[in-house]
Amino acid sequence: MRVVAAEGLQKRFGQRLAVAGIDFEVNKGECLGFLGPNGAGKTTTIQIMLGLVEKTAGELTIFGQEVPEQFRQIKSRIGVVPQNDNLDSDLTVFENLVTYASYYNLVGSKAKGRAGELLDYFALENRRNDVIEHLSGGQRRRLLLARALMHDPDLLILDEPTVGLDPQARYLMWQRLKALKENGVTMMLTSHYMDEVARLSDRVLIIDQGKVIVEGEPGRLVNDLVGVDVFEVLCSAEDAAQLAKSAKECGARSEIMPEGIFLYMHKDCHGLSGHVRPLQQWVRRPANLEDLFIQLTGRSLHET
């Protein structure tokens, strides 16, 4: 069953086409990784889904209901962890949860009970009566996730949920998100941390300049489009040119860098590894989503 279906979705800001007609869907129970360089149109798309931006053209249905006509019903079933921390700094941790729940008509002992459960679950119980400014970055992010879950949403939108977190805090977020997914919560995730996306997503959608450029299961996309293994070699320009030539003979893609060369291999190739091994500095590692992302969107900055 489809939870989100977008067709030809478009948003124009004056001259600039921020979202240039994209089609995508999110199926029930899956986590869709929504990727793209800064300014690609990810956040705009999410804001259209939340009614913060009005679409210029295209169709969007969420839970089978039309955007924007049935927004009130739609939004009562969506939970959001926004990119910008918008916790209410005038309120305590507990008050933030209970106040936010009231916007979903969740009030009284029900809201308080739920807030207590979530504080426990997100290891925030001891900060219950603290004001927001005394929380660490990790605690704020966990509180934002707890807040998004107060009304038990069917769709969770995560816009850079772990930005700025230390590895421990990020790991805790991942554990909680995985548990939610196992409980059948549908998710839409944007992130610039490719390892995070690879860990959590069943399917990824990469957009650039407002358009979808590729879509599919992350492991398969990497294998199909990038390869299985990658050599990262630090070497002189001459060695790099030599390696590029032997890569071509092996059917491997190469990318010459200022400090050496990257070689992307679909299968083992003795000719190529024979050339790499004698060199001083090299590493062989599995291809990953970051390779794919860079292959598709380039290494240069995209900001306009």
Partner: protein, 232 residues
Amino acid sequence: MMASLVGNLGQPLLFLLAFGVGLGQKIDTIEGFTYLQFIAPGLTASAVMYSAAFETTYGSFTRLSTQNTFEGILMTPVTVEEVAIGEIVWGALKGLLSGGVMIVTMPLFGLWPSPWVVLLLPLLFITGVLFASLGLIMTATARNYEFFNYFISLVITPLFLFSGIFFSLSTLSAGSRFFLQVLPLTPMVTLSRMFCYGDFSGNVWGRILLITIFAGGATLFGTVLLRRRLIK
């Protein structure tokens, strides 16, 4: 809360002291009132104006910009219109509180309001709605806090000085009197004086209608502008 109450009440109370008690001793009666009696009801109306307008400018703009509170709320089923009405009602209630405290303080200055003053409270609330809405219009168009200087210097302060709080409009020429009478605070200053002293010689309903129309129009306009500001 305490700070904003003191901040917004301090000015009208100090004016009451300096002008009503101080200057008033040397001034003859105006329209049959001592100067202190004359200015106290108008200062009550102005206290409402200040509290309401400050709340929906500095207060609301903080929630709109630095705290991202509105954005957070708009991700929930709550609509922009509901946020706008919430801000306006909250500003109006703060205004009503300031006005109420002014009325309660009047006996300290030897002024005893008539029982009619109870009916003044809903009118003070409408005044609160009017100025909270004007504040919200400013917030919806402001790029930074400095922008509110225009509003305070060019709207709020002139209204404070020229709405018939400190001098009787009846001594002015017909032209300027008409102009000052349709300023948004003037009808309320007159109404406030009427209800404080139970003297209803003048058009009560016309004035109530006027401030209600002002308040309704400003609410509508403020709501539309806030939508334009928040939904791109």
